[in-house]
């Protein structure tokens, strides 16, 4: 059996105690491809490469069965603060 979305979530949750975590199965059901968004204090002061390494390490036990992981976001809580929204789209005249 492949790796489930829950497996991926719990592995990341355990390693990074994220304040925000979204795992999306992009494999179309076979469980081999995931997109990940994660916000964690553990990313503080780390470059993107190091952040991705943390996520990769958390997933290491599952990697053999996962074909593709795409880390869409790896942010610190500060970075994840709601960005100033672009002013509500007003239809251009």
């Amino acid at each position: 059996m492949g790796v489930t979305k829950e497996d991926v979530e719990s592995a990341i949750a355990a390693a990074l105690s994220p304040s925000h975590l979204v795992v999306t199965d992009t494999s179309g059901g076979c469980g081999a491809s995931y997109e990940i968004e994660v916000v964690s204090e553990k990313f503080e002061g780390k470059r993107l490469l190091e952040r991705h390494r943390l996520v990769n390490t958390a997933l290491a036990p599952h990697m053999a069965e996962i074909h593709a992981v795409s880390i869409k976001k790896a942010l610190t809580p500060a970075q994840a603060q709601p960005q100033p929204e672009p002013a509500a789209d007003k239809p251009q005249a």
Partner: protein, 169 residues
């Protein structure tokens, strides 16, 4: 596998157009032509290391220092080396394709090595880079990142900066 990836290839391609075309182009004046020519001749493994490296890769299949040494030479032989699935002209994976497209758009000379053609290389690299997936981009002998990181860095301009620095060094 091919199916899973073919789905992501168009997605990756559609990512590219919105990226801002950076007006500042990378300068390659510092790259001696002889070096560029040597790069073109490079089929599988790093320049002078050539034939010897292939043997080393075979010998080092079990892991260990020989593989590390060989890879040191390979990533050091060129400013930009991309370990990917497939070749520059026929990427076998959407993520590899994306990174090739980015490097091409920046007009930077780069070497690619097909990890699908060499299982020892593929396994050795995972360990060498402490990175589980491909593609893997090396700039100036240093691991820069995989596809996601390269895309991010391209959007932020950090990739262009790093390449520029590497080309001038």
């Amino acid at each position: 596998m091919a199916m899973a990836m073919s789905a992501s290839a168009p997605a990756a391609a559609s990512l590219l157009p919105p990226f801002p075309a950076r007006p500042r182009s990378v300068s390659f004046a510092a790259l001696p032509p002889s070096r560029a020519a040597a790069g073109l001749r490079l089929g599988l493994v790093g320049a002078r290391a050539g034939a010897r490296s292939v043997r080393c890769l075979a010998a080092a299949a079990g892991g260990g220092g020989a593989m590390r040494e060989t890879l040191d030479k390979v990533v050091g032989a060129h400013k930009v080396v991309l370990f990917m699935k497939g070749t520059k002209d026929f990427p076998q994976c959407g993520f590899s394709h994306t990174v090739v497209q980015i490097l091409r758009s920046l007009d930077v000379p780069f070497e690619t090595l097909d990890v699908l053609a060499n299982e020892a290389l593929r396994q050795g690299l995972k360990e060498y880079s402490s990175w589980p997936t491909f593609p893997q981009l090396y700039i100036d002998g240093e691991f820069f990142g995989g596809c996601d990181i390269t895309v991010e860095a391209y959007k932020s301009g950090e990739l262009q900066e790093t390449l520029e620095k590497a080309m001038c060094s």
